[in-house]
Symmetry: D2
Subunit: 99 residues, 4 copies
């Protein structure tokens, strides 16, 4: 359920989506700390780059999960309520994600 | 200066490179925690996706700094020492980074 | 207006969108022929790679135009008609575009 | 073998590399013409986007082949001849390819 607070829209997510997103971010945070540890242990460049590629992949999959949820809930609801500006909003973020 | 420990090569970085890489990772870690906070505060999907795009950009620039240092030190030294397998190693990681 | 032929859906585009898409593809086709010419004239590698990056950017912008049109016409219409599988279809293609 | 013509470096490629690169570009050119045909036949948006994703993948693999050849010939030779600016040149193009 989406509410418009003073300046930003918010979105109440169901517990399952909430838990999944937090779990993914916790893992990514751990991976970043792991890479810091590699630098601290003088790890070799290509080994570090391999780990960073894994973090980028994890972020990309986080994006896809969030985007799919957004489209199946907010975008569908907005379109049914005639708020078609939701498509412009979606396109704006896709411009960034489709580098 | 690069040493081959039992199974993994290591690389002693100069203090400036070391500090820059750690600083970048600390900032990325902070950004990830910030996104977790957004989820906890029921932030709207596209606002979260915008922040994740910023983290991906920060990771990409971390990669470029590390890659440039790697090429200007390890790859140049290896080629001068006739260890041309360094190019295969570099190409392997570029395959991942050039999705 | 979208019709379902025997196995594939088709889409009648308005003349303006049609002309723009064809114009973009003609230009991309010309760029590819230009790169072939560079190879034939023994052009240097990085000069060629620079041109290929320009083609990738042109393809990416072609995708964004097509995607925006698709969302503002087919996806909005389908959702209003209760055909929410259009979102799964959109997500499937976004998975490919969001490498 | 690389010569510096008046303003641009050129590179004489071995017949095998030359044939492979031209073959790849011919195929990509054909794919672009195929996509034009899809637009002319009012093909559905997501079917077109799927084909464009295939062209992007083909361009990406063309880049990797060209880059690997470049590194194993021009970059190795330049470094052995003490022309280390070749690394800056390589990094400049990687910045574009590592969007």
């Amino acid at each position: 359920m989406e509410e418009a607070c003073c300046c930003h829209k918010t979105k109440k997510r169901d517990p399952e989506e909430y838990k999944d997103l937090i779990h993914r971010l916790n893992r990514i945070e751990g991976q970043i700390r792991g890479i810091k540890g590699m630098i601290e242990r003088d790890a070799y460049c290509t080994d570090i780059l391999t780990q960073v590629a894994a973090v980028s992949a994890a972020l990309n999959s986080f994006n896809k999960v969030l985007l799919e949820n957004h489209m199946k809930t907010c975008v569908v609801r907005d379109i049914k309520e005639g708020k078609e500006e939701t498509v412009d909003e979606l396109m704006k973020i896709l411009q960034k994600l489709m580098k």
